[in-house]
C-alpha cells in the first residue's frame, strides 16, 4: 500500500514533462492546421506579409478579431517554439515536487539561458 505513492512521487517529473510536451505539440499543431485550412479556403491566394511581424504584432492581430491565415501560422509556430520553454518550467516544478533541489537549479539554469535568448530576440 505504501509503495504506490512513493513510486508516483518519483515519476512526477516524467509524467508532467510528457504531458507538457503533448499539450504544446497538440495546441501549436492545431493552430497551424487551422491557419493552413483558412489559407486553402481562400484559394491559396492570401499574399504573404510584406515584413515579418513581431510577437506583439501577432498578438495584436489575433485579438483584433480579423483572423489572417498567416497570423494563425505564426501563432502556431511561436507556440511550438515555446513548447520546450514550457517543458523546462514543468521540469522545475516536477523536480521541486520530488524535492530534488540540485535539479531544480539545473532546470532553472536551462530556463534562464532560454529566456536570455528570447529576450535578446524580442528587444534586439
Amino acid at each position: 500500500m505504501t509503495e504506490q505513492p512513493v513510486e508516483a512521487i518519483q515519476h512526477t517529473v516524467e509524467r508532467w514533462t510528457s504531458r507538457s510536451l503533448k499539450f504544446g505539440v497538440s495546441l501549436s499543431g492545431g493552430v497551424m492546421v487551422f491557419g493552413l485550412i483558412l489559407f486553402a479556403a481562400q484559394s491559396f491566394s492570401t499574399p504573404l506579409p510584406q515584413h515579418n511581424p513581431t510577437m506583439s504584432e501577432i498578438l495584436r492581430n489575433l485579438t483584433s478579431g480579423s483572423i489572417n491565415p498567416f497570423t494563425l501560422m505564426y501563432a502556431g509556430l511561436i507556440l511550438l517554439m515555446l513548447t520546450p520553454f514550457l517543458r523546462v518550467l514543468t521540469a522545475v516544478a516536477g523536480f521541486a515536487a520530488e524535492k530534488d533541489k540540485k535539479f531544480v537549479l539545473v532546470s532553472l539554469a536551462v530556463f534562464f539561458f532560454l529566456m536570455v535568448e528570447l529576450l535578446y530576440s524580442l528587444y534586439r
Binding site: E14, L21, Y120
Partner: protein, 270 residues
C-alpha cells in the same frame, strides 16, 4: 504559393521526416537540402524551417520515450545547459555568415554525417557494456527481451564538452546534432544505445528552441513554409517510427549515406 507547390512541400516534409526517423536521424539533414534545391530557399530560411520541424518531432518523440522510461531526464537536463549555450552561440553566428559560407559549412556537415552513417553501419552489434559506478543512473525495460537494463553515466564533463559542440551545430545549421551526441553518450559515457538515442532526442527540442527565436527575429521564418514543413515532418516521423519496426534499415543506410554524399558534393559545387 499554388496548391501544387503546397502539396509538394507537405509531401517533402513527410518524406524527409520518414527517412530521418527510419535512419535514426532528425529530419533536418534531408529537409534543408530539399528546401534549398526544390524551393530555392535561402540557407537561413531553410535552417529556420528545419529548426521548427526539429522542435515538433523532438517534442512528440520525447513525450512517447518518457512514457517508455528510456529517457534519462536528469542527464538530459544537465547536458541541456551545454547544448543551449552552444545553440545560442550558433544561432548568433549563423546570422553573421553569408548564404554561401553557411551552405559550404552545411555541405561539410553532410559529408561528416554520411561517413559516420557508413562507419556505424559497418560496425557489428557488440554486446553493450553498462557500468554501475557512475552517476545519474537510470533503468528501462528492454522491449524485445523484457529485461530491465540498469546503468549509470561515466565521464559527464566530457559529455558536456561534446554537448556544447552539438548545440553549436544545431544552432548554426538547424539540425538536431544527435548524430554526434548519441555515439558520444554510448562510447564515452557507456549509456545503452536506447537510452542514449531517447535522451538525445529529448534534448534536441530545447536545443533547437535556443536558436529558434534568433532566426525568427531576423525574419528568416516563413510562416507558410514553416507550418507546412513542420506538420509534414511531424507526420513523417510517426510514419518512419512505425516503418522502422518492419523495415530492416542496413541497406537503407547505405543508400541514404550515398544520397547525402551526393547532396554534399552538389552543395560544395554551388
Amino acid at each position: 504559393m499554388t496548391l501544387w507547390s503546397f502539396l509538394i512541400l507537405l509531401l517533402g516534409g513527410v518524406a524527409t521526416g520518414t527517412i530521418g526517423a527510419l535512419l535514426g536521424l532528425g529530419g533536418g539533414v534531408f529537409l534543408i537540402p530539399f528546401l534549398v534545391f526544390v524551393f530555392n530557399l535561402p540557407m537561413h530560411q531553410a535552417i529556420a524551417t528545419s529548426i521548427v520541424a526539429v522542435i515538433a518531432t523532438s517534442s512528440a518523440g520525447a513525450a512517447m520515450n518518457i512514457e517508455r522510461q528510456t529517457v534519462n531526464i536528469r542527464l538530459g537536463m544537465l547536458l541541456e545547459i551545454a547544448t543551449v549555450l552552444g545553440a545560442i552561440l550558433g544561432g548568433l553566428t549563423a546570422n553573421y555568415l553569408s548564404n554561401y559560407t553557411l551552405t559550404k559549412i552545411f555541405a561539410a556537415l553532410l559529408l561528416i554525417v554520411s561517413v559516420v552513417m557508413i562507419r556505424r553501419n559497418r560496425g557489428s552489434n557488440k554486446h553493450e557494456i553498462v557500468f554501475q559506478d557512475g552517476i545519474l543512473g537510470g533503468s528501462f525495460v528492454e522491449g524485445t527481451s523484457g529485461e530491465t537494463v540498469t546503468y549509470t553515466v561515466k565521464r559527464v564533463p566530457a559529455l558536456l564538452a561534446v554537448s556544447v559542440v552539438a548545440g553549436n551545430i544545431s544552432g548554426l545549421l538547424g539540425v538536431g546534432g544527435g548524430i554526434f551526441k548519441v555515439p558520444a553518450m554510448h562510447i564515452i559515457s557507456a549509456l545503452p544505445m536506447k537510452a542514449a538515442a531517447a535522451t538525445s532526442n529529448f534534448m534536441i527540442g530545447v536545443t533547437a528552441a535556443a536558436s529558434a527565436f534568433i532566426y525568427f527575429s531576423h525574419g528568416h521564418l516563413n510562416p507558410l513554409v514553416g507550418s507546412t514543413a513542420a506538420l509534414g515532418v511531424l507526420a513523417g516521423s510517426f510514419l518512419g517510427v512505425k516503418l522502422s519496426r518492419t523495415i530492416k534499415s542496413k541497406a537503407l543506410i547505405w543508400i541514404f549515406a550515398a544520397v547525402l554524399l551526393f547532396i554534399s558534393v552538389e552543395l560544395f559545387m554551388r
